[in-house]
């Protein structure tokens, strides 16, 4: 009986540790170019990231908040970029890797397959690619936290 309890406890600990690791990605991150901040949340069992801040929030041509004007879907071209979900459907695979997701680049209106590797608790490598991972590009995103007052 004790052995069974120990086994169940061990499995539960493993499960919670895995879940905790999976949530390491949750938070606010800054892409390498520093022009935006992206907040990653967990929704159901998947991870999503949306733009929450833009260095240049307004379109210099129109003076209005920037919209997703490069989206190939014309009905989306007036959607504001702030609040736009650019990371979708990531699933934790273990060992600090999130896969099966996509990343959207508003600069060219293209959605890429994407894999995320946690480098350390405050940095992750995010790679968008086409077809196979060879045809892609990596960027390092860094964790942001609220300024201490």
């Amino acid at each position: 009986m004790k052995n069974k309890i120990f086994l169940i406890a061990f499995c539960l600990m493993g499960y919670f540790a895995f879940a905790q690791e999976a949530d390491d990605i949750v938070g606010v991150w800054e892409p390498g170019h520093g022009k935006a901040k992206v907040k990653i949340d967990k929704i159901d069992d998947k991870y999503y990231g949306k733009i929450v801040w833009l260095k240049e929030a307004k379109d210099p041509e129109t003076g209005e908040p920037k919209v997703d004007k490069n989206n190939p879907d014309e009905s989306m071209q007036n959607v504001p970029l702030r609040g736009y979900r650019i990371l979708k459907d990531f699933v934790y695979q273990g060992d600090g890797v999130w896969e099966e997701g996509t990343i959207y680049d508003p600069e060219n209106g293209t959605t890429y397959s994407c894999v995320i590797n946690m480098k350390d608790e405050n940095a992750m490598e995010i790679r968008g690619y086409v077809g196979v991972k060879t045809f892609g590009r990596s960027d390092t995103w860094r964790r942001l936290t609220m300024k201490k007052k």
Binding site: E30, N70, E107, F135, R137, R143, T145, K147
Partner: protein, 383 residues
């Protein structure tokens, strides 16, 4: 009583709908201003890097296959002389060489296979590598086998005329290119490119000596001013005009704010004016400078390498359009303008630099008419 079974269900639905509505409102009404106060958790200074491209440029080709075809043209080939083996050649200023062979090439062309695969692609460093193969077949009519005087090698043996060699063997180029992009900071970058070429009338099952491999290189320092403009200057060691040459390189890539117009210039290799018809198609007008030094095995004696210095300028119009996904088609049409088709005999297969002022004698002085050319291709591109 029967209806009572529905009450928990309705209550659950009610709470779920309240929760969902609340969640939506929370998302819609999120106070984004609080993110102004977010800063890096790790305060190590962040180094930002220039991107390796600018907005609006034609898509980069990862893998491409194309067919290139030139319309008929006439050619004039001089005697075949051997400046190194026999001590006789054409003076560098020769303007009226003895014509030994005239003919018409009914068609010239073949398949081209190009790759440019990212090996490492990070913000701080990009390394791309590609194998390229270009097959040029000649269909020579009229007098490919009857030059005025037979082609005699220094050892007294008779050889095929150049027209006959081209007609029967064609020319091939196998190339390996490596490109390295080093961003120094958010604005400055350095591009280094190295190439190895094996060019000649070899067959795929019998390569020519590897001592005939040519290497080219280019280094460019550039500044990416903003998302719409970058420039660069550099130097290159190139065979694009056929002969070995050292030339300055100028990069000038620009896109208008409405992303309709632009330039893609890496002079002297290529220079285009670009018009983006839509996100999925564009038009380029400009020129390419193509060339290599082709080893002719039959004329290469005494350990020397006899090489056709093929260089051509190709003013052209090019239309590129998306077929589906990341597959794009390209269609080119323009003139193939002969820059050089002369020949040199390289002592011990070692190349030399003639430049504008060298006086090394030529082995052949040849002329080609300038025909129209067409090129159609399919490419797997980077978005």
């Amino acid at each position: 009583m029967k209806h009572n079974y529905h009450i928990p269900y309705l209550l659950a639905l009610f709470f779920v709908s309240i929760f969902t509505t609340a969640a939506q409102e929370e998302e819609e009404e999120e106070d984004y201003s609080k993110y102004d106060n977010f800063e890096l958790e790790d305060d190590t200074p962040v180094k930002r890097y220039a991107k390796p491209t600018i907005s609006g440029m034609s898509p980069q080709k990862f893998i491409g296959i194309s067919f290139d075809a030139q319309m008929p043209y006439r050619y004039e080939f001089s005697n075949v002389l051997f400046p190194e083996s026999s001590g006789t050649g054409f003076d560098v200023d020769e303007e009226d060489p003895t014509i030994n062979e005239k003919g018409t090439v009914k068609s010239t062309g073949g398949f081209r296979f190009n790759t440019n695969i990212p090996i490492i692609s990070k913000s701080s460093f990009v390394w791309q590598s590609g194998i390229n193969f270009m097959d040029t077949r000649y269909d020579v009519v009229e007098a490919p086998i009857s030059p005025r005087t037979p082609i005699l090698l220094p050892n007294g043996n008779e050889a095929r005329s150049l027209g006959k060699i081209l007609n029967e063997d064609g020319l091939r180029n196998l190339n390996w290119t490596n490109t390295f992009f080093f961003p120094l900071n958010e604005t400055e970058f350095i591009v280094f490119q190295g190439q190895l070429d094996l060019s000649g009338n070899y067959a795929l099952d019998s390569f020519q000596p590897l001592s005939t491999v040519k290497y080219s290189a280019a280094a460019v320092y550039g500044r990416r001013i903003n998302d719409y403009y970058r420039w660069g200057i550099g130097v290159s060691r190139t065979y694009r005009v056929g002969n070995l040459n050292y030339v300055p390189v100028i990069m000038f890539d620009w896109t208008s704010k409405n992303r309709k117009w632009g330039t893609e210039i890496l002079f002297p290799a290529r220079a285009y004016l670009r018009y983006n018809i839509s996100k999925n198609s564009l038009l380029l007008a400009g020129f390419d400078l193509e060339g290599q030094s082709y080893h002719i095995d039959e004329y290469s004696v005494n350990g020397n390498s006899y090489e056709i210095r093929r260089g051509e300028v190709r003013p052209k119009l090019e239309f590129q359009t998306k077929i589906s996904g990341y597959i794009w088609a390209s269609v080119q049409a323009g003139y193939r303008m002969d820059w050089s088709y002369d020949a040199d005999e390289l002592a011990d297969s070692t190349d030399f630099f003639r430049g504008f002022f060298g006086n090394q004698e030529f082995g052949m002085i040849n002329n080609l008419e300038n025909p129209l050319f067409f090129n159609v291709g399919l490419n797997f591109v980077s978005p």
